[in-house]
Symmetry: C2
Subunit: 233 residues, 2 copies
Amino acid sequence: MSERPAHGWQTVREEVLRRIAEKIWRPGDPIPNEADLAAELGCARATVNRALRSLSDDGLLDRRRKGGTRIARQPVGRATIEIPLIRTAIAERGARYGYRLIERQEAVAPGAVSAALGTAADAAFLHVVSLHLADEAPYALEDRWIVLGTVPEARDEGFEAISANEWLVRHLPFTRAESEFSAVPAAAARSGALDTAPGDALIVHRRRTWLGDKPITQVDMTFAPGHRIRTQQ
Amino acid sequence: MSERPAHGWQTVREEVLRRIAEKIWRPGDPIPNEADLAAELGCARATVNRALRSLSDDGLLDRRRKGGTRIARQPVGRATIEIPLIRTAIAERGARYGYRLIERQEAVAPGAVSAALGTAADAAFLHVVSLHLADEAPYALEDRWIVLGTVPEARDEGFEAISANEWLVRHLPFTRAESEFSAVPAAAARSGALDTAPGDALIVHRRRTWLGDKPITQVDMTFAPGHRIRTQQ
DNA sequence: CAGTGGTCTAGACCACATA
DNA sequence: ATGTGGTCTAGACCACTGT
């Protein structure tokens, strides 16, 4: 009958969600403290804590020491986007993956790149531009700057058969990342490789990663027209 | 000297991150099980569990019962975007907030909208279009469909002084949300209100919310040219 | 079957914010 | 000063899954 232990934290979570959905508890309302809820629901306080913490992480509750727990007045919207390997994303759509290297050269990065990553202005970078294809059609243009001081092994890789996207993911973990999404007109530099029509708008995902405090890379992934980025449920 | 209890879960988390960053543990490597790690680090297994679970949530570890814990081969990128009230976002930039209602009428929603929300094809919606301004300049165009079956009180609100964005957030919590980002050319319908130049590209954030299993609304928030969506650190 | 992570419990102490 | 959430502990049982 019951899938979960009758008093598991997910059960508590669902009970709280139910009370919100049925307007037993309304935005701004205080809810009982953990000890009282635990007594009412017949479980340990730690279990209630786990459930309320998960709801608080989701932005549905506001919690303060001494102040207690309230239903959030503005349920903070949070959207979590999963960022797969491009090859994986294409394979999951059931399409054949293709890859083409466009440019690869050592260079000094533009000031904005080195500044954002926190390297010296004259630090050595590897600049790799490539195209990912799904069933022969352009899918995404990858424009990447790799910090050679952190990833010297990249010098020995030609990136002719494997994308920098994939090579990095295989060779180096990261512990911190920043993302930024914006829209650019198809007329922008390099987007010609994407087979766009004049007037198309493209979505760009810029990402920077670090390992500990050492910068690894910045990448601009520009997607073909019509691409959508969805949150996972 | 130490900010946290010497054996808190954050300390364990940082120790694991350190071992990844210093390549003591490499992608794909198994790490000791929870009991062993707890003994090594001198804390309870539950504390180790808390730390490893948080790293697993961040995509840095792969955990499987019986299989043990490994450093992720592909640290799954996850970007979490916070979605503030538009008025709050503008105030945080230090700009003056302005609001203008463009259209408000009861209507049947396009099939794609009712289908995505899961309402009947002929369900009653309120269609509200409005403009948010920062220091008199257009900031975002809000195009919203409200499910009147779920939110009948919206019939009594003119949305002349308060945006639907804000009114909904004040009146109704939600328990589930979906987001989708895309790029559109400035030429697209209605974007004229955003003071765009020909050739501009705009980023659109489409969002749908539910309360329990009842659909609340779908909104397309189209931002002025140059807008960027950043992840929180 | 056996080893691992997932979770629950009961109790305790602590940090913090508020009254 | 006090009540609240945040966390740690030690122990236990369970669910899943690889062997």
